[in-house]
Structures are given as structure tokens and as C-alpha cells.
């Protein structure tokens, strides 16, 4: 019999400690409240809302940074624990992503300040949505319970729909948002179904407990032909569908080009990076939830890993091939985003394959470390290079009022800073040294290569990755060709820029891309450390 009193005490105690570690999210939530108040209180209305939003974002970033710092340095100051009676996980991995997301929030808000995309009237609403989505992603990154998985995904998705349709006047924008909603709702429904099945079968929603329960259930059945086991496979697949939707993995990617084309470039940049980061963190957690002693559960995870590898290869190929012939920059970058999600998915696949292979040993453990390390490195570089590309598209749009590739002709001489920034980003997206993208791709291909020793399909995945890198060269170079080789048509609008704020921002985004390529060792050490802490499950 449970003693109600001690249970209450336990709850109170857990909440007390949890709230202390949950401060960044709470700060962001507080910021939302303040932003909403702005609309009502005339006094606060005077304060520019972007500063309030920036203040909140900076606080959250600083807080998560210090948390991350304390966690990574070996000391007793902060410890890994589960928050709110096991709903959220507070560890190095989640803190890294929370830090990553709040940094990204800062950069996005700065970009919107520069481009002025939400006007003064709409700014509180826009920042509310932006911050709300970020909180959702942070929850995704630290979810430790199926319930939080769903809440995180939905909290990210709903503001995203609104942001895509934020330019209310444009028909294209509304259509994109509507498509996104319908598609997203479908995916969320499938995911929720999967979650219900899993929770119903195992009797728990907690991810760490799930593995044990699953192995118990599987052990009772008679192999894979058992209907229960088939249901498990189906359920986990359905959860993956929800995530695949967020990651815009083929064949769940259809919303992506339409939504990005309809949305403002700033929003597209935000969605392309942040929601992917959150979803990848969640995917890794969900995949690792299959860890356990049971051979059968492992083999399910292994099959999932192989499947994800094939999906990753298909996604990268599809994204790159479709990017050919695109004339709209946002659409082109949308397909490029899909392709990059494919590359990153390959590393998750390699992780599952290595970790759940039958001959798992010390060597496979080391190799699976490099998978997570590669994924984190890729995401970190991707943050800067993709945001940089979208930001420059937005900044150029403010000048020439166009996002068509043809209108970029000859811009190289007119706005050298922006075009140089674009060049760095594009080189990094292609994966040319010495940009960060090179090492990111290298790390991922390396981990896939390690996985080839486990299963032959990974060779195909690796080959697809390599061929895709070559394919992608052709359409990325078109951007540079337009900017630098083609002449500026006569009578085209002249582009002028104050160098100071815009140039500084471009520099701020592009220098890390270069820095991550020139000094990869420091970062990859940190990521390696985080990965090892995650995998040892300390």
C-alpha cells in the first residue's frame, strides 16, 4: 500500500529540484507571457518587443550554457537526473540541444530584427510563436516519456503551422500553412496511435522502462510471427512516422518544399534547423530506448536501423535530385534541407545498426560513439551554414524583392559581403574543406563506414551518400555561378547595404562555419564526451 503522504512528499521534492533545472524553459515561457502582456498594457507597448524576446533568449542561452559547462566538467555541482518524476531527462545530451536551440533562437530573432519581417504590430505574436516552438523543441530534446514525446512534437508543430502562414496577405503562404497543418495532423495522428499502442502493450510510457517491458513481452511470445510482436513493430514504426514527418524524411517530406516556399525565409531557416535538431535528439533517444538484454528487442531495433539507413539514402537522393531545376531559392534550399536530413539520418541508422548488431562489442561501442559525435557535429555546423544561407536569402530579398535564382545574377559585385557569406555557406553545404561541412560529412560517412562491417546494406547507404555529395555539387554551384559569373542585367535594381549590422551578422554566422572546419578537434572532443556520457547511460 502506498502511503499517500510520502507520495505527495516525493512529488513535491521532485518538483522542487526539477524546477531549478527547468529554469531556461520557464524563462522562455515567462517571456511569452510578457510578450502577450505587451499587447494589453500600453505602457509596455512602448518597449520594442524584439528586445524582450532577445533578453529572454539570451537568458535561456546563458543558463543552459552554464548548465552544460557544469555537466561536462567532472564535478558534483550538477547531476544527471530525471525531472518531474521521470517525464524529462536532464543530461549532457539534452542540455547540449537546449543550449543549441536557445543559441539558434538568439540568431533567428537577430535576423528578424535585421530584416524586419514581423512588423511592429505583429511582432509580439510572431515572437510568441517562435519562442513557443523553441520550448517545444527543447522538450523534444529532453523527453524521457512517450507523453512528453507527443507533447514536444505537437508544441513544436502547432506554432510552426502558424508561422508558415504568418504572411497573411499572401495566398501562397496560407496555402502552404494549410497543407502543413493537414499533413502534420495526419502524421501526428499516426504517431499518437503508435504511442498509444506502445503504452498499452508495455503499460508504461517511460522510455527507460519500455525496453525491459518490451523484452518481457517479446520473450513470452513465439518469435516474430506472434501478433503482439508484430504490433510492437507496427507501433514503433508509427512513432517513427511522426518523427520522420518532422525530419522531412522521404516519403514524408512533401510538406517541406511547399511550406518553405510559402513561408518567409526567416521562418524557413528556423524550421529547417531547429525542428530538425529537436527531432534528431528525440530520434536518438527513442532509438536508444530499445537498449536492453533481450536479443529479440535488439533485432527489432537493428531492423529499424537498417530501414532508417535505406530511408536516409532515399531521402538524400530524392532531395538532391529534386533540387535540380529549381528556380526559387527557398525551394532549392528546402530540397537541400531534405537531402541534409538524409545524411544525418544515415548517422542515426549507423548508430542503431552498430549498437544493436549481434556481434556488438567494445569496438562497436566505440564506433557508435562516433555516430552520435558525427550527428552532433553535423547539426552544429548545419545550424550556422543553413541559417546563413536562409538569412542571406532573406537579406537579399529585402533588397531585390525576389527569391528567384535568376534575379541573383551578377550580385557578386554589388553586395560582396552577402555573396561571400553565401559562398562560404554553399561550400560548407557541399562539404568542401576547409569548411565545417566537410568535417561534418566526413564524421557521418566515417560512422556509416564503420557500420558497413556489420551489415552489407550500409555499403549501399555509404555509396548513396558519396554519390549524393557529388550530385549536390551541380545545383549548389548554380547559386555561385549566378552570383559571380553571370552579368547583372541592365536596369536591375541596385543593391546597397549598410555594412555594419548586416555584415556583422553575416560574419557572425559564417565565421563559425569556417572555424568549425579549421579547428574541428576542440568541438569534436566535447561532442565525443557528450556522446560517451549518453551511451554509458550514467
Amino acid at each position: 500500500m502506498h502511503d499517500i503522504g510520502s507520495l505527495v512528499d516525493q512529488l513535491v521534492e521532485s518538483t522542487k529540484t526539477s524546477v531549478g533545472l527547468f529554469v531556461p524553459e520557464l524563462v522562455l515561457s515567462g517571456t511569452i507571457v510578457v510578450l502577450l502582456l505587451c499587447r494589453i498594457l500600453p505602457l509596455v507597448w512602448r518597449v520594442p518587443t524584439q528586445w524582450i524576446a532577445l533578453l529572454g533568449a539570451f537568458t535561456a542561452f546563458g543558463w543552459t550554457l552554464s548548465q552544460f559547462d557544469q555537466l561536462v566538467t567532472p564535478s558534483e555541482a550538477l547531476q544527471v537526473k530525471t525531472l518531474f518524476t521521470g517525464l524529462l531527462k536532464f543530461d549532457e545530451f539534452s542540455t547540449f540541444f537546449r543550449m543549441f536551440l536557445s543559441l539558434f533562437l538568439i540568431l533567428t530573432i537577430t535576423l528578424t530584427v535585421l530584416t524586419g519581417i514581423p512588423d511592429r504590430e505583429d511582432a509580439p505574436d510572431f515572437y510568441t510563436l517562435l519562442i513557443g516552438a523553441t520550448i517545444g523543441m527543447m522538450i523534444m530534446a529532453s523527453a524521457n516519456h512517450l507523453l512528453m514525446v507527443f507533447i514536444g512534437v505537437e508544441m513544436t508543430s502547432v506554432p510552426s503551422y502558424a508561422m508558415v502562414g504568418f504572411m497573411k496577405g499572401r495566398r501562397q503562404s496560407s496555402e502552404a500553412a494549410l497543407k502543413y497543418v493537414v499533413y502534420g495532423a495526419g502524421a501526428a495522428g499516426v504517431m499518437l496511435y503508435g504511442i498509444s499502442l506502445l503504452a498499452g502493450l508495455t503499460g508504461t510510457g517511460s522510455l527507460p522502462e519500455m525496453a525491459e517491458r518490451l523484452s518481457m513481452i517479446v520473450a513470452q511470445g513465439q518469435g516474430i510471427s506472434d501478433p503482439t510482436n508484430r504490433t510492437i513493430v507496427l507501433a514503433s514504426l508509427m512513432v517513427l512516422v511522426g518523427l520522420a514527418f518532422k525530419l522531412s524524411v522521404f516519403p514524408f517530406h512533401f510538406w517541406c518544399p511547399d511550406a518553405f516556399e510559402g513561408a518567409a525565409a526567416e521562418v524557413a531557416g528556423f524550421l529547417s534547423v531547429a525542428s530538425k535538431a529537436g527531432a534528431f535528439a528525440l530520434l536518438v533517444r527513442f532509438g536508444l530506448a530499445f537498449s536492453g538484454q533481450s536479443k529479440e528487442v535488439s533485432s527489432i531495433a537493428f531492423a529499424l536501423g537498417i530501414g532508417l539507413g535505406v530511408l536516409g539514402a532515399a531521402t538524400a537522393t530524392f532531395g538532391n535530385l529534386s533540387a535540380y531545376g529549381q528556380s526559387n531559392m527557398k525551394r532549392l534550399l528546402a530540397y537541400s534541407t531534405i537531402a541534409h536530413a538524409g545524411y544525418m539520418l544515415m548517422s542515426v541508422s549507423a548508430l542503431l545498426v552498430l549498437r544493436f548488431s549481434k556481434q556488438a562489442g567494445a569496438e562497436a561501442d566505440v564506433a557508435s560513439l562516433s555516430c552520435i559525435e558525427g550527428l552532433m557535429y553535423y547539426l552544429f555546423v548545419y545550424l550556422f551554414m543553413n541559417l546563413g544561407a536562409f538569412a542571406i536569402v532573406a537579406l537579399i530579398r529585402n533588397q531585390i524583392f525576389s527569391e528567384e535564382l535568376d534575379d541573383y545574377n551578377g550580385l557578386g559585385t554589388q553586395c560582396p559581403v552577402l555573396c561571400f557569406g553565401m559562398t562560404i555557406c554553399v561550400f560548407s553545404l557541399i562539404g568542401l574543406p576547409p569548411m565545417g561541412g566537410f568535417f561534418a560529412k566526413f564524421a557521418i560517412f566515417y560512422s556509416v563506414f564503420k557500420a558497413t562491417s556489420v551489415h552489407w546494406v550500409m555499403w549501399l547507404v555509404l555509396a548513396a551518400g558519396a554519390i549524393n555529395t557529388v550530385f549536390s555539387l551541380f545545383y549548389y554551384i548554380r547559386i555561385l555561378k549566378a552570383m559571380y559569373v553571370k552579368p547583372r542585367p541592365d536596369g536591375a535594381r541596385k543593391v546597397t547595404y549598410d555594412l555594419m549590422p548586416v555584415g556583422l551578422f553575416v560574419l557572425m554566422v559564417c565565421l563559425p562555419v569556417l572555424g568549425l572546419g579549421l579547428f574541428p578537434a576542440r568541438f569534436s572532443e566535447t561532442f565525443h564526451h557528450v556522446a560517451s556520457l549518453l551511451l554509458t547511460g550514467r
Binding site: L237, F252, A303, A323, G325
Partner: protein
């Protein structure tokens, strides 16, 4: 004073570097006609620094040979005296587990002498150039490249390891390229610059391979460490020395214009004359000699390599002298003379193999000739430049003559230069050439290759005779005879003082420097302190050889005077009588044509084939490969047709397929 010495040492290369950067950035906008000021100032500073360091070296007790094992150096009586090797730490340029390259400066006796010569001659030439280049649109560019060259040359001789040396070896090559092609609008100048660069590349390839091999063999590229490890390597792998030395010598052949890589130097005369004087006569082309002299400890380990050095030197000296006999372009005569004299130096360097005792003497002879040659050859070139300046840029000796009255200053200094080059007794060229002959003569007496050195000595004597002849042929044709000017010369005049002053200074040095430093043994004693030399050895003299070379000088001088002054008909008659031989010499033994047919045309054909291959086959394949993704892209794009129902259907299909696949995988 001793705390100051590192600063002084760094100042020598850094001053011209700063000048170069300054002129490069501000020359066009700010300095324009005054661009020479920073350059001359910097070179004056460098010269002063080099001179003061040299004096400190002279003050050092000459018997001090560095001994790394004892600390006795600190207890020397004279506080101002310097160690024979002065090393100042720079910074670590590349540090890896296997290779540490630091950019340190090292100065020993050999470096000190080279530095004094380089900075001093550059200073004079830069003063001269401020007059010569006056009014040229590229005036700032000239001095920026000029100062950069001096920087590179100083760093080359200050290098304490082979890799740094190679870097600045390339640096002087680059500056040479920039300055040969200074008038790049002229196709011939552009072609000459390219030729110099490409031919040097052949040599540099050998050099860098040599450096690699040194690193592989010794595990280090520092001179001091390499030389220290020689006995060790000699035990384990004695055969390697010949390969290393021949590779290094290949580099020297390129830079110092030795047969068959000498073809670039005469063409390099397309550059401005001060450049020819400084880079292509006095300094850069001697870098090869310096490098071989610096590597003496390696070369003495391989008599074979040294015989090659001597042999190539002899062939070059003779061929170049024969070519110089019939050239009509005054600068080309001097260029071939430079090639020939460089061959002389290599002949002497090769003689170091005769016996260890003679090694120091032979290298000293070469370095001494390098030293004196720098002064009198720079003088001759600057004199030729002065003539050119006055004659409206005409340099063909058939088109002018009898300039003695119009250009008295140029004439007297050019005469001194010619006398020195020809080896007139008591002038500096006489002493240095005599030492080389003595070194070769010693080779005929001992060492096991007597016959070989007999031939070399014969070639050397013959070349000395030819040298005397062609120097006076050039002098006589230019300054004596009836007074004639080409029509390009609007008002023939003596050059301005900025140009004649350096001529006089150089003439003064050419007259006396040999007498002061040669027979007195000052130079030899000083150089013997160098770390690259085995130390004091024999210093043989040979009165008979001196008399012989005096007689040779008189013979050459007399013949030239008879043929070109007394009875010019003789030379014309000879020309007709020996027509095939004359044509052979006039056309430089058809070497350029030979290279053209043997190398240039085959390479061009190959290049054409490569172009065709690239253009049609590779581009075709690439275009095909490039068209694959876009074609497939066109096929897949219709899937993205904007209909949500369509999307949902594909999504469902995807889930089903994935599920089936997974179940099958798990079942099987």
C-alpha cells in the same frame, strides 16, 4: 653590443622587406617618383648592419672553431668577439613529430661575406636604378620587387636549414621572374620570364628532392645537425651521398645557369639592366655556388658528385665563352660571360674532392671568385646599362662604336671592369681566377683523378684566354673605333651622377679588393671559420701559374686589339673563313633549337593531346554525368504536385512498404 647583434641580424632582411611592403602599398599613390627612397634607405641600413656584423666577425679570434661540447666560448678574453656562428631564434614554422622547421637566422663567416656583398652591391645598384629607371611608369613596382628580392636573397644566405633555404631560393626565383618580365607588355620579356621560371623549375625539382632525401636520411634539415650526422650515415649508407649531392647540384645548375640549364640566363637580359646586374650577375645566380659551398661536408663525401660538378662547370665555362665570342648584343656577351664564370666557380668547387686538405682551399677559391665577380660583373652590366641609356636602348654593338669621348666616365669604368674580368694582373679577377687555377692544378698532382683534372685545367686555361679576348672585343667594339651612333640616340650623353657614382665605387672595389683580400689571405682565413668548411688546410701558391695567366691575359688582349682595332678586316675575314664555326657560336650552339625540337615541341604536342582528351572525352563524360541527376530530377519532380491527397497516399504507401520490409527482415 652583444644583445644588439640579434637585432642587427634581423634588421638585415627585415629592412628591405618593410621597404618592399611600404612601396607596394603606397608606391603608386603616394611615392611615385620617389619610390626609390625607402628602398635605398632600407638597403643602406642593411649594408650598415651587415658591415658592422662583419667587423665583429673580423675581431673574433680566428682560431675559434665552434665546439658544442664545451662552454669555453663564454670565457673568451675579448667580450666583443662573436662566436663563429651566430644564431638568432625566429619562430617555429612547422613542428611535427618528424620534422621541425624553425625560421631561425644563422650567420657564420660564409654568410657574413655573402651578406656584405649582397647588401652592398644591391645598395649601389638601387642608387643606379633610381637614375636608370627614372620616368618609367612601373617605377614603384620596380623598387617593390627589387627590395623583395634583396629580402629573399638575405634570407637565403641566412637560412640555417635546407627547407628555409629552399623557400627563399624560390623567393629569389619569383622576384627574378617578376623583374625579368618587368616590361611584360613586350612579348619577348614575358617569354623570357616564363622561360627562366620553367627552366629553374627543373633545377628546383632536383633541389627539393635532395632536401627530401636529406630529411629521410638524416631526419633533420638543419645544416649543423646534418653535418654532425655525416660520419654516422657514412657508416651505414655511404652510397646515399652521391644521390643527395647530385640532386642538390641539379638545383644549383638551374639557379646558377649551368649547362644544359643555362639557356634561361641570356634571355633574362630582357629585364631592366640594373636587374641583370644585380640578380643575373652578382647575386641570385651565385646562390647555386653558395649552396654547394654550404654543403661542402656533404660533397666531400662523394668524389663522384664532385667530378660531375667540375665536369659540368668546365663544359659550361667553355661553351659559354665560345658563345660569347661572336655575340653582338653587349648584354648577351656579358650574360654568357657570367655563365662562363659561374662554370669556373663550379670547377673549383669540384676540386674539393682531391684531398680533404685541399677542400677548404678549393671552396675558398670558388667563393672568392664569386665575391670578386659580383663587383666587376655588376660594374660591367651597369656600364652596359649606361651605354644603353645613352644610345636610346640600342645594345647591338654593330650599331655604335667609338663612345670613348661621349661617355668618358662609363668608358673608364667599363675598361676597369673588362680588365678585371679578363684577369689583368693585380686586379681582383686575376687573384681569384688564379686561385681557381691553382686548385685545379693541385688536382692534377694527386687524388687519383689526375687525368680528369688535367682536362679541366686545360679547359680553364683555354676559357681564361677566351674571356680575355671577348671582354676586349666588347670593349673595343663599343668604345674604340670611329664614332657612330644609332638613330634612336637623340642626343648621346654621359649618364647622370646617380648612375656614374655607383660605377666608380664598383670600379674602385674591382681594382683593389682582390689585392687586399686574396694574396694577404684575409679572405681565406675569414671564410675558413665557416661551419661548412673542414677548417684550415693548405694554401698553395704557384708563381708559374700566375705567370701563365698573366701571359694568357696579354695574349687575349693583344688578339682582340689586333682583330678589332688595328686591322678590323682580319675579324671579318675570319668570320667568312670559319663560317660554320662562327654560325655555331653565334647561334649559341643551336641549343635553344635543340631544346625546342627535343623538349618543347613534344611537350606541346602532349599538351594538345591532353586538351583534346579533356575537351572531348572528359568534358563529354562529365556533361553526361551532370545530365543524369537533372534528368532523373525531371522524372521525380511530378510527384511533388501540390495535392495533399496525393501526398497522403504516398505517405501511406511508404509506411506500408516499410512495415512489410521490416517484418520480412525480422522473419528472415
Amino acid at each position: 653590443m652583444s644583445e644588439l647583434t640579434p637585432a642587427l641580424l634581423w634588421l638585415i632582411p627585415v629592412a628591405p622587406l618593410l621597404a618592399s611592403i611600404f612601396i607596394a602599398f603606397f608606391g603608386k599613390a603616394l611615392l611615385r617618383g620617389r619610390s626609390h627612397v625607402p628602398c635605398v634607405t632600407a638597403l643602406a641600413i642593411s649594408t650598415l648592419c651587415a658591415g658592422s656584423l662583419m667587423l665583429m666577425f673580423l675581431a673574433a679570434p680566428s682560431q675559434l672553431k665552434p665546439d658544442p661540447n664545451t662552454n669555453s666560448l663564454h670565457q673568451r678574453p675579448s667580450e666583443h668577439a662573436l662566436q663563429p656562428v651566430l644564431t638568432t631564434p625566429g619562430y617555429a614554422w612547422a613542428e611535427t613529430a618528424d620534422l621541425n622547421v624553425r625560421l631561425d637566422l644563422q650567420m657564420d663567416a660564409m654568410t657574413a661575406i655573402m651578406l656584405c656583398m649582397v647588401t652592398f652591391v644591391s645598395l649601389l645598384v638601387s642608387i643606379y636604378a633610381s637614375g636608370y629607371m627614372h620616368g618609367d611608369p612601373g617605377y614603384p613596382r620596380f623598387f617593390a620587387a627589387f627590395a623583395l628580392f634583396v629580402f629573399s636573397m638575405c634570407m637565403l644566405v641566412l637560412a640555417d636549414n635546407y627547407l628555409t633555404m629552399f623557400i627563399f631560393w624560390e623567393g629569389v626565383g619569383l622576384c627574378s621572374y617578376l623583374l625579368i618580365g618587368f616590361w611584360f607588355q613586350k612579348p619577348s620579356a614575358a617569354a623570357a620570364a616564363r622561360k627562366a621560371f620553367v627552366v629553374n623549375r627543373v633545377g628546383d625539382f632536383g633541389f627539393i628532392l635532395g632536401v627530401f632525401l636529406i630529411w629521410k636520411t638524416f631526419g633533420t634539415v638543419r645544416f649543423a645537425d646534418v653535418f654532425e650526422l655525416i660520419p654516422h650515415v657514412a657508416e651505414t649508407n655511404p652510397g646515399i651521398f652521391t644521390t643527395i649531392c647530385l640532386l642538390l647540384f641539379l638545383g644549383a645548375m638551374g639557379k646558377s645557369a649551368q649547362f644544359p640549364l643555362h639557356v634561361w640566363l641570356p634571355d633574362a637580359m630582357e629585364g631592366p639592366t640594373p636587374v641583370s646586374a644585380l640578380i643575373h650577375a652578382a647575386t641570385m645566380v651565385t646562390a647555386g655556388v653558395y649552396m654547394v659551398a654550404r654543403s661542402t661536408p656533404l660533397f666531400v663525401m662523394s668524389p663522384t658528385a664532385q667530378m660531375v660538378v667540375s665536369g659540368i662547370g668546365a663544359i659550361t665555362a667553355l661553351l659559354a665563352a665560345l658563345t660569347a665570342l661572336t655575340q653582338y648584343d653587349l648584354k648577351r656577351v656579358l650574360a654568357y660571360s657570367t655563365v662562363s664564370q659561374l662554370g669556373y666557380m663550379f670547377m673549383a668547387l669540384g676540386a674539393a674532392s682531391v684531398s680533404p686538405k685541399l677542400a677548404t682551399f678549393a671552396v675558398t677559391a670558388a667563393m672568392f671568385h664569386l665575391f670578386t665577380h659580383a663587383f666587376f660583373k655588376a660594374l660591367l652590366f651597369l656600364g652596359a646599362g649606361s651605354v644603353m641609356h645613352s644610345m636610346g636602348n640600342v645594345i647591338d654593338m654593330r650599331r655604335f662604336s667609338g663612345l670613348r669621348d661621349v661617355m668618358p666616365h662609363t668608358r673608364i669604368t667599363f675598361l676597369i671592369g673588362s680588365l678585371t674580368l679578363a684577369g689583368c694582373p693585380l686586379l681582383s679577377g686575376f687573384w681569384s681566377k688564379d686561385e681557381i687555377l691553382v686548385a685545379l692544378f693541385e688536382g692534377t698532382k694527386a687524388g687519383g683523378h689526375e687525368t680528369f683534372f688535367m682536362v679541366i685545367l686545360g679547359v680553364a686555361v683555354l676559357t681564361a684566354f677566351l674571356t680575355a679576348f671577348y671582354s676586349f672585343r666588347a670593349y673595343n667594339m663599343t668604345f674604340l673605333g670611329e664614332e657612330r651612333f644609332p638613330e634612336e640616340a637623340h642626343h648621346p650623353h654621359e649618364s647622370p651622377p646617380t648612375m656614374t657614382l655607383p660605377l666608380f665605387v664598383l670600379a674602385g672595389f674591382s681594382l683593389v679588393i682582390g689585392l687586399f683580400l686574396g694574396p694577404t689571405g684575409v679572405y681565406a682565413r675569414q671564410l675558413a671559420q665557416s661551419t661548412s668548411l673542414p677548417g684550415h688546410g693548405d694554401h698553395p701558391h704557384n708563381i708559374l701559374l700566375m705567370a701563365l695567366s698573366a701571359a694568357i691575359f696579354c695574349g687575349g688582349y693583344g688578339l682582340a686589339r689586333w682583330m678589332y682595332v688595328k686591322s678590323p678586316a682580319v675579324s671579318a675575314g675570319l668570320e667568312r673563313g670559319l663560317k660554320p664555326l662562327h654560325r655555331l657560336s653565334l647561334n649559341k650552339f643551336f641549343l635553344d633549337e635543340l631544346f625546342n625540337y627535343l623538349l618543347v615541341i613534344p611537350v606541346k604536342v602532349l599538351a594538345l593531346l591532353c586538351t583534346l582528351f579533356d575537351k572531348y572525352l572528359l568534358d563529354g563524360l562529365l556533361n553526361f554525368a551532370g545530365s543524369i541527376p537533372s534528368t532523373i530530377g525531371r522524372i521525380v519532380r511530378p510527384i511533388q504536385n501540390g495535392l495533399v491527397s496525393h501526398y497522403a497516399w504516398v505517405m501511406l504507401l511508404g509506411v506500408v512498404l516499410f512495415l512489410i520490409q521490416m517484418l520480412r527482415a525480422l522473419a528472415g
